[in-house]
Symmetry: C2
Subunit: 218 residues, 2 copies
DNA sequence: ATAAAAGTTTAGGGTTATCTAAAAAATTAT
DNA sequence: ATAATTTTTTAGATAACCCTAAACTTTTAT
């Protein structure tokens, strides 16, 4: 059984490692967890002793199969709770993160299975991120940043890369949402911004930074 | 801001004091919190420093107005979550306590107001206990133990005094639920048990212990 | 009224998760 | 290749919460 803090570290390592693919540095973990490297080293030892990660001094850590399974359950809980907050309690998508950070640590397998059922087994959360099922599996759709697109084809907005409230509010204000179908009208040379048409109705300008943080399918 | 543990102590003190009416002994707190008296003394000092309780050495503690308000918010959250679990996620009433013990500590005023609205502002939880509103007020209906009743009048089951899973399962098995309308058919001299008629349809025997833990209105 | 019993507090530790400062190892630059 | 820099680890503390054992206060019993 992992503590609240251990779960948070493991989740951070999972995300930083690209879903468990590559090794992660102590400093990267310290950065995202807002702690010092020394604290990370301590926690690495604990997680290593619990076989959640493999650890060799002065090298990065790699998440184990067991650790990945645990991390996936935390991610599952986080995303199910975010879905609940938006769909049932009518939170806006920029308000859910901090609450879900707390809710993801509630310990009850029954709760999460019932919540999943109540939400009718959603496969993506309000930010477009996939929700692992109870076995940890999820559908991985190949998505690319909007900034890599060109031409006049129809593009579907699938997910946000960065979930910061200010970015999400910016998107809402401009009528951009998950599932929107857009076309690129023009790419401005000067600053890399894009003029796009949303649902064939609304023309807006999207900054280069924003287009790099929007994941889409063509 | 109170910690998870401080909230739990304060809630225990609130309940033990009869909603803040009387002083509570260190040993009573230790008993219900499953800790040692020495640990309670430590926590009493902390809560006293935060003006949640008033404390005089070797005497019991009394909850302050501020402490009562905090405790009521924890109670509110606990009962709203229990209501959610039963009404929306279809938990049975004997499964909700432990999960609600965790959920009650989630920090988000917005969450609890939205949850309240989603549940359509319930006034009692699945065990018949009143849910304080956002200002801490709740309707206090005068209830008496079923064991104190006699005669043939119609009696409404309003709440359980003891929420242990085994008692709740016993009630379910016998068709007893919050809101049921019953009449007493016979009181058995020998063991103090009652034969009751539920909703004019079902005759069952209820032990003396059970009748003492059922709160009713006549 | 005073001795015994019961209850409470203090003293001194242990664990978890954090920190700073110093030491050690790895990386980078000349 | 070696010196400088950066990163990581170790060492030693601190805060929250809990413990046991001993000291102290209150209550109960004779």
């Amino acid at each position: 059984m992992l503590s609240y803090t251990e779960e948070n570290y493991l989740k951070a390592i999972y995300h930083l490692s690209g879903s468990g693919a590559k090794a992660v540095l102590t400093s990267e973990i310290a950065e995202t967890m807002n702690t010092r490297a020394a604290s990370v080293t301590d926690m690495i030892k604990k997680l290593s002793a619990k076989n959640m990660i493999s650890y060799e001094k002065y090298y990065g850590v790699k998440i184990t199969r067991q650790g990945k399974a645990e991390a996936l359950m935390v991610v599952r809980k986080h995303r199910l709770w975010e879905t609940f907050l938006v769909q049932k309690l009518h939170f806006s998508w920029d308000e859910v993160h901090d609450v879900a950070e707390q809710l993801e640590h509630i310990q009850s397998a029954l709760l999460i299975e019932k919540l999943d059922e109540f939400l009718e087994f959603p496969t993506v959360d309000p930010h477009g991120h996939p929700i692992p099922d109870k076995t940890g599996k999820f559908v991985e759709v190949r998505q690319i940043p909007l900034s890599d697109c060109s031409g006049k084809k129809k593009i579907t907005i699938r997910a946000v890369r960065n979930g910061s409230p200010s970015f999400l509010q910016y998107l809402s204000k401009n009528g951009v949402y998950i599932g929107a179908i857009i076309t690129i009208l023009e790419k401005i040379e000067f600053d890399g911004s894009l003029e796009i048409m949303i649902d064939g109705k609304k023309k807006v300008f999207i900054s280069r930074e924003a287009s790099q943080n929007l994941l889409v399918t063509e």
